[in-house]
């Protein structure tokens, strides 16, 4: 074969800026869509009920979201690596109880929180070990640990419960006080969110989690320490579930053996609504956090505008469907526009 060494393709990178900005927009659009839905919803509610965004109202909204935001953040990291952790609800429950038991015996609040985080991280490590060492489907393994941890929790807890009376006042106050309308819990969640988001974006190991989720084989070939990263993701997720457990205790002042059961579906919903794909490698923790905020806000909005709680479940589900459908349609539209623009650009360049 003779080589016709004509430089067919023009010099590279002539106008990447324009293209990049557009692509950036596409990616951001996912989060934007959720944010837009959220704002519209909150705005509309405020119009029909002026109490809704009162000082107390905003505080409540933020407080409600805190725990879900934390767990969803951890879950998003795991999902980005193309895995899933269904055991978060159970881990949350058992960590909350552990922290409560410790506080009941007169422990310090800070250590109680650390204890919950450590216990969560421990279960995260167990999940991570099972998933990464055995290279087995995360869904099954964590469904298994969901049952196991819940079982251990109920055997341990039995019919005991931690009530507000057992907790030091400082801890309970920490659960609802804050700076002006921003509760301490929300600040904490925000800090965690920002840290995890920054880590995923700006550190090699964070980027490697995306790589790993995007294509596990390619990641192995690229020398990504797959097991280590999966382990990190699970430990992080577990630790955040543990932290969420401690905050749950502070917030609700009450923990029993059923605490956190069924929570996994809410968390998974938040992550999905936030645009983190279950096929791994895409989405962001910010999206997941927005998803969490959206979901918890729906639960506050409906009672606030006087929707009978009989309707809540149905409306919840339909809104969830709407959110993902709108997001999807938007993404398709943008992709189509992009395709046409690319074609125009190409023909313009070669004309």
């Amino acid at each position: 074969m003779t080589v016709t060494a004509t430089p067919v393709r023009e010099e590279a990178v002539p106008e990447p800026a324009a293209g990049r900005r557009l692509i950036d927009k596409v990616f951001k659009a996912r989060e934007l869509a959720v944010a837009a839905v959220l704002l519209v919803m909150l705005g509309a509610t405020q119009l029909s009920n002026t109490e809704f965004l009162s000082e107390q109202g905003i505080k409540d909204l933020l407080l409600n979201a805190t725990i879900l935001v934390l767990v969803a953040t951890g879950q998003a990291v795991v999902v980005i690596t193309r895995n899933v952790d269904l055991s978060v609800g159970s881990v949350l429950g058992i960590s909350a109880f552990a922290a409560g038991t410790y506080l009941q015996d007169g422990g310090s609040s800070l250590i109680a929180i650390l204890l919950a985080v450590a216990l969560g991280a421990l279960f995260g490590a167990l999940n991570g070990a099972l998933v990464s060492l055995g290279k087995v489907p995360a869904l099954v393994v964590t469904l298994g640990t969901l049952y196991i941890v819940r079982g251990i929790d109920s055997i341990w807890v039995g019919s005991q419960q931690i009530t507000a009376d057992d907790l030091p006042n400082g801890f309970v106050d920490f659960g609802h006080d804050g700076i002006w309308v921003v509760p301490y819990l929300a600040l904490l969640a925000l800090a965690v969110l920002a840290a995890v988001g920054y880590y995923l974006r700006s550190y090699r190991s964070g980027r490697e989690m995306y790589a790993l989720g995007s294509s596990p084989e390619a990641a192995t070939l690229a020398g990504v320490p797959v097991r280590k990263r999966i382990m990190t993701a699970y430990v992080l997720c577990g630790a955040l579930a543990g932290l969420a457990g401690a905050l749950y205790l502070a917030r609700f002042g009450n923990v029993d053996s059923a605490t956190g059961s069924g929570y996994e579906l809410t968390v998974v919903s938040a992550v999905v609504v936030g645009g983190v794909a279950f096929t791994g490698g895409s989405g962001s923790v910010y999206g997941a956090a927005l998803g969490a905020l959206l979901l918890t806000s729906i639960n506050s909005v409906l009672p606030a505008i006087g929707v009978s709680s009989v309707w809540v479940t149905a409306i919840n589900g339909i809104l969830l469907l709407l959110a993902i459908a709108v997001d999807r349609i938007l993404a398709l539209r943008v992709a189509a526009v992009l395709r046409k623009q690319a074609a125009q650009l190409r023909s313009a360049r070669h004309a």
Binding site: M1, T2, V3, T4, A5, T6, P7, V8, R9, E10, E11, A12, V13, P16, G19, R20, I23, D24, R201, S202, Y203, R204, R207, E208, Y210, A211, G213, S214, S215, E217, A218, A219, T220, L221, A222, G223, V224, P225, G280, G281, S282, R339, K340, A342, A343, Q344, R346, S347, H350
Partner: protein, 508 residues
Amino acid sequence: MTHPEPETTPVLALEGVSKSFGAVRALRGVSLRLYAGEAHALAGENGAGKSTLIKALAGVHRPDTGTVLLDGEPVEFHGPADARDAGVAVIYQEPTLFPDLSVAENIFMGRQPRRALGRVDHASVRRATADLFARLGVDLDPDQPARGLSIADQQLVEIAKALSFDARVLIMDEPTAALTGSEVARLFGVVRTLREQGAAVLFISHRLEEIFQLCQRVTTLRDGAWIASEPLDGLTEDDLVRRMVGRDLAELYPKQDTRTGEVALSVRRLTREGVFTDVSFDVRRGEIVGLAGLVGAGRSEVARAVFGVDRFDGGEVEVLGTRLKPGAPSLAMAAGLALVPEDRRAQGLVMDMSIERNIGLTGFADTTRAGLMNRKAERSRSVDWAVRLQVKYARLGDVVGTLSGGNQQKVVLAKWLATAPQVLIVDEPTRGIDVGTKAEVHRLLSALAAEGVAVLMISSDLPEILGMADRVLVMHEGRLSAELTRAEATEESVMAAATGRTNQGSAA
């Protein structure tokens, strides 16, 4: 056979390496030495063990026996990362990119330049990627996600990635299989520069002329066994083929003259916005029509739209007088159309299914009795075609993913030829297929045409197009830019049309 080798220690070498996959012994006691400043070719039929050898070098597979030597010292690579750290860069046969990440991230994953506190410096990742692409003459946006890149573009990204290592050893497993001449030339230019700077290069290709262009020495494998290592100087293509196949080969492009009949495939003003525009052509019974063009010209997209896997926005397609419904491959199949897609891993095969089941996927109409599968019919249909195309396999029930690249391609062909199509569209039918089988495929296509099948052949291998086609259509930027008769079609005329340097229009 004894041939002088350089006196220096090889940078990277294999000594007596064997590797088995269950029953299959992919390598048996193979040795290979790579020297600094030398480009070494690896030749062999499909399934000879080339890719396996490379994976042994790169630490993907641990050899069952034998050793890997780095600078003369035995080393044990525990994974690709070890090999990479030792200065070995590999381009694997199948592109392995992260579809969700940007092209730039794909190239620098795990090695991104960092700023203070270990943070990734995104800007310099982007800049370095742009520089690499400029060096290769590639027109890709570093921020573009890898998803949606054509196979060729993916291959180019892989090449850029390998180059970015500034490695001491550059290993390339069929990097050119999806590329057209100009990209290959650019690549070879860059590789030569690297070699002159002292890198050792290992190169695999089934295009023998490329081996002669780029390399100094060649190692031949047959059935996993080492056959020869020798300088290319003084060797002819025929010599090389004989070493690979163990016998002489017939003519490479055996196009028989056939009588062309009625129009079998008729495409009118086919348009898919942003991809291709106003494409019209006919293919007659007994005719092989070549569809040429540069990578990304839109040939595959046209084929897919015609077959119905993609929708089109305007125009019409007729097969043997039946107008096809857009977006309905099953109807197209019923009308007698078959498409051998370009990406065998994603589109051609269900990699986790057996050879038998893969071939069977297109034949439910023939292999069911009263709505139930007839295992025997399914099996005999599959065996028949696997044997006719010389697929090299241990058992028909083996998972297709364990076959060598070329043999996978044969299974795709078998799957579609088994439907006895009236109109056959083949997209890069011989990508990754060895010379011997390539001739076989060409003979087969000729024979099909002679039987009255209409063949549309898309290929980036220009000699293949020129050798096989009765007529050549050329695409440029999503439009048909020329239609050339066999007599008119030359390398110059096709390239001119493909790069848009003519305004010939479609001369019918």
